[in-house]
Symmetry: C2
Subunit: 351 residues, 2 copies
């Protein structure tokens, strides 16, 4: 029995557990830890973990893969506590929204005998906690993989295999780049959404405003319902990038303000028209980025065995098999229009 | 046969037509006009209107109710063209996103023999045109009713009846108040959403950014896909209110910027926590606003007959009957758990 340990059983940790369990891997045990005993019990009850372990350092003992899914600011304490218990060649990953600081912590706090490969699923909901966890939370979503400089290639492949297994799209990126980019597409919208809600909510006319508000207001303010601990931690651990984008947004708003103030009808119309056109293009045909996903040839078995020992190599080969079968089934489905379990008839019968 | 005329058969005009037709009113004919012949044909084909009329002033001849659902900036020309054809006591309404300017136009351009009652459905989609029209677009959404100072009470009741008939919630409000409020909950989110999309789209890292962007970015930028003609017209016809809220939003963003810059952890956390709590409250238990909806006692028949003549009074009584039946059916459904068409058995049978 090989062990994967998830530390932190909230929305993300719980959903990872559910997604891993949904993949029905044989001989892999998912162990969970949460400092909140109720969350641990709930995760077990919902089938997100096979068992929960109330003592943190015991939860990671003998694990081949450890996923830290706690709030960002809790990560250093977790790393300190587990460092002495991690088995040699253990792969450690996380799910935090910022990566530079977490990669630094890993370098300082984890033993050189393990590999750290940071992770960040670009998925989430504005509702937190194990009660809202879903096996399909990561389906078709980008999942950033941010290997530490000294991470073994096998460790990177192992994390990539897990990412594919839960249905997400591996997105390899370095930590600084990651933090600048997510500041634009994730952290800035979060602050914007919150500021808009706070402003309108603070108006004395709120009873009328809220009665008038429709789906537009609800959608644009959705991220204001984000777990405040997450928003707070993001702001503090990615401060400079967030400030950079925040300043640029205020400049952009000022540009619109000027056009409006001066009633510059044509440039105003052009701005709106360009945004509409480009957003529609983005939705229907997003620009493609080279996937930069390292191929996993069978020769990598050797690397994997260096990393996790023969038994876990067998498990990751199982993962590879599951993935290949799934891909083949979906390809067959696309080709024949039939469900994955049915084959196309060889010859058409006359009715 | 009584006539309701819809001028402008885009998303809103088309959806109004579909919603009216879905109510299956007897002896009421819905006539449509659009300067784009293809839109007229399509509206007819989709069943949004009973017939389309290619000449605008002919389309409104003998109509008891005229709904102007064109872009805002087209309204004055429409009013000028139809003014001479409107029958006495005709009720004219519109669907524009700003109301002060439209009310002014109505006072200047429509004859004193008709009643203008402005309207604004707080519903929409980021996809425009008759092809995206839906009978249920207005279901349970607020629908602002903004009577001109000299509108007859019967005209107000007639528009309120139509609003209820299409499943929306009548929301009585005066024009200036309306424009200030929708600037906050509709026009500001629109500009914000567009500015955010424009900023991120303009980055040289757009291929990476768009690949990383997830549902949060998509939701917050949804309104950037709004019809640019609509956005542009809103900005120009509600300029002062939009500028007011835009300035206040930049102040609010600056407040977040300061907290972030100075790493004021506690106030930052408190701001996020307060926003989350209040938004959750807003979603689960929105503050209630007194509905201010005038009751329609049977004595109002007299008012209605003054307004629209006996034949249309009969139609609006039909509307009242349809509404009453619908309410009763849904009440019965809630009480008994049975569908609207089935009655609860009078006595329970033993199995």
């Amino acid at each position: 029995m090989e062990r994967i340990t998830i530390i932190g059983l909230g929305l993300i940790g719980g959903s990872l557990g559910l997604a891993l369990k949904a993949a029905r891997l044989k001989d892999i045990e998912v162990v969970g830890y949460d400092k909140d005993t109720l969350a641990s019990v709930d995760a077990r009850r919902r089938g997100a973990v096979d068992k929960s372990e109330p003592i943190l350092h015991r939860a990671v003992r003998d694990a081949g893969l450890v996923i830290i899914a706690t709030p960002i600011m809790a990560i250093p304490a977790v790393m300190e506590e587990i460092a002495g218990e991690l088995r040699e060649n253990c792969v450690v990953t996380d799910t935090a929204s910022t990566k530079t600081i977490v990669t630094d912590w890993a370098r300082q706090l984890l033993p050189p005998t393990v590999s750290f490969v940071g992770g960040h699923p670009m998925a989430g909901k504005e509702t937190a906690g194990i009660a809202n966890a879903e096996a399909t939370l990561f389906a078709a979503k980008p999942y950033c993989i941010v290997p530490a400089a000294d991470a073994s290639e096998g460790a990177v492949r192992a994390v990539a295999a897990i990412v594919q297994l839960i249905g997400a799209r591996p997105f390899f990126i370095d930590a600084e780049e990651h933090d600048r980019y997510v500041a634009a597409v994730s952290h800035l919208p979060l602050i914007l959404s919150t500021a808009l809600f706070t402003l309108v909510r603070g108006s004395p006319a709120w009873p009328e405003l809220s009665a008038l508000a429709s789906s537009g207001f609800r959608d644009v303010t959705r991220l204001a319902s984000t777990d405040p601990a997450l928003s707070h931690d993001i702001c503090l651990t990615n401060r400079d990038s967030v400030l950079h984008w925040l300043d640029r947004l205020v400049e952009e708003l000022s540009r619109y303000r000027e056009l409006l103030q001066q009633e510059q009808e044509e440039p105003l119309f052009e701005s709106f028209a360009k945004a509409q056109l480009e957003r529609d293009n983005y939705l229907t045909a997003p620009p493609s980025r080279p996937e930069r996903y390292p191929e996993v040839p069978s020769g990598s078995d050797q690397l994997l065995s260096l990393l996790v020992g023969e038994r876990l190599v067998r498990r990751f080969k199982d993962i590879g098999k599951v993935l290949a079968e799934r891909d083949e089934a979906s390809l067959r489905q696309r080709r024949t229009g039939l469900g994955p379990g049915r084959k196309a008839p060889k010859r058409p019968h006359k009715p």
